[in-house]
Symmetry: C2
Amino acid sequence: MGGGIGSRFWPFSRESYPKQFLDFFGTGRSLLQQTFDRFNKIIPTENIYIVSNEKYASLIKQQLPELGENQILMEPTRRNTAPCIAYAAYHIYACNPDANIVVAPSDHLILKEEQFLQDVSQALEFVKNNKALVTLGIKPSRPETGYGYIQSSDRMIGEFTKVKTFTEKPNLELAKVFYESGEFFWNSGLFVWNIATILDAFHKFLPDITTRFDLGKDKFNTDGEQAFIHENFPYCPNISIDYGVMEKADNVYMLCVDFGWADLGTWGSLYDLAQKEESGNAPLKNKVLFYESGNNIVALEDPEKLAVIQGLDDYIVAESGNVLLICKKADEQRIKQYVADVQLKFGKEYN
Amino acid sequence: MGGGIGSRFWPFSRESYPKQFLDFFGTGRSLLQQTFDRFNKIIPTENIYIVSNEKYASLIKQQLPELGENQILMEPTRRNTAPCIAYAAYHIYACNPDANIVVAPSDHLILKEEQFLQDVSQALEFVKNNKALVTLGIKPSRPETGYGYIQSSDRMIGEFTKVKTFTEKPNLELAKVFYESGEFFWNSGLFVWNIATILDAFHKFLPDITTRFDLGKDKFNTDGEQAFIHENFPYCPNISIDYGVMEKADNVYMLCVDFGWADLGTWGSLYDLAQKEESGNAPLKNKVLFYESGNNIVALEDPEKLAVIQGLDDYIVAESGNVLLICKKADEQRIKQYVADVQLKFGKEYN
């Protein structure tokens, strides 16, 4: 899945160039490319599909030239993860009605790749033999309030735990309870299932989508697919797979994993992961002289640019293209509003 | 005089491109060009000389192509204003031993040009007939601590007051006394005198300079000037005209003027002059959205660049070339130190 805007990462992530296409850590590969590289070690290139907004098609082709034209599934409008995953499921079903599928966001960081690949392989093996919707639950390392949590039960099939509930992002107090209980795991948004299992679930819980898609069932993986999707996709409800399917289904299982995962969702999450100086400052890839300053994250697009920062604590200083952003780390959830305000006041060229 | 580095205006003002060559207000003309334009209304082009460090010669030629080669007087090393003014005086004497001279910094802002030209003309007329060293004293509009002051006496020749003393920059308490007394005026660094009068004063108070320059008297305004200056100028003492001559001479007169003058010496002085929003923020030439922020000055080199600033009060945010500076306005006197630290740590390319 690579269709998000990543507006909480503005001004680095722009609607015209979202975060999944960016190389945040200066490794030479964007988050999307890293995600592809990672899976490509266990999944053949021709079995990897990217679902994204059609306006990012050329960016994806540019970053992943090894993909065939029919491996980029283009959404004509922005919906949420449920329609995105349904579209891919129908397409893959037309290619192979026995497929086992991993669904993954394209903007996550995974530090222990070996462990990750092992866990994914194990889950793929599991769903081949069990009509289960599998989610990878991350063992929490701190009482994080930025992620949703999954509560495990004591019913197991092998190493797979039946899920009791999905929860929204908790407040700090609740997050501490979750963390200490040992029963709760971070919801990574990484799913594994057999094609038949997920299509059953869509039919049961999101008939608005399946009724439409079933009418064009013979169009998927043909020349008629794009026109069909263009006409019908916009009618799909704007709903996440968690809310639309996972929270309702009674065959959801979790594999508890620990492969150095992080959702690079916000500047704060990037700060948490970044290398920090003794002062707690994280100059992402620039030379920065700090005076009386601590716990800032500084990211300037041009790695040759130097910053001198005095008298700032707990700020984001981010510069990219035609925008400089300076705001308190604690207020980063307001960045989306800033982007909207800027667009209203100065037009779309800053989005 | 256009040889300063203006390091208190870093990163806009660089050693390689000091502030006098910059167009701070987006008018289309640099401070140097504005100074030239202003004087050119009453002084013919061929009578205007720029004294500057030799490394800025090509910048000056570029910005003022109307000047002849021999109108740019190049200092081989950085001294202070006394050697600079002495050099120009010897050169001008060789061109015209009866000249009346206005000495002006090239980085000042003057808002009431008509009044300025009238005052300068009046002073030129005065020094033609009086062996006086004239300084233009600015009627203070506030108890400013950033300028030196000149104390007037009650001895007058026409509208010209004999000067009692020159003072260093006062603290706020003293500045208030100065301001309320009506006796003290800002030292603008604008001087007017006849060539004979200033050369007499140099001989009297700075024989270190004149002894040397007199040896090469016949070299000035000839092909031999540059070589002579190259050899001898470095031996001049590093001393200001105020300290070296004006404070010692007993023929110093002041014309009290009021032509909307400001020394663009620091970010703070620029802030004081800039147009401000209701919040007290001064976005110099950029689009800036401020949230919970007040009394900041924001200057980004690219006028198309937009900034979003949240939770900042009384800061300088300045970006130019390969440097971004964020620091408290109250600590701007430390900028010189930052520049030195950056050079020490990261090399000269950021100066």
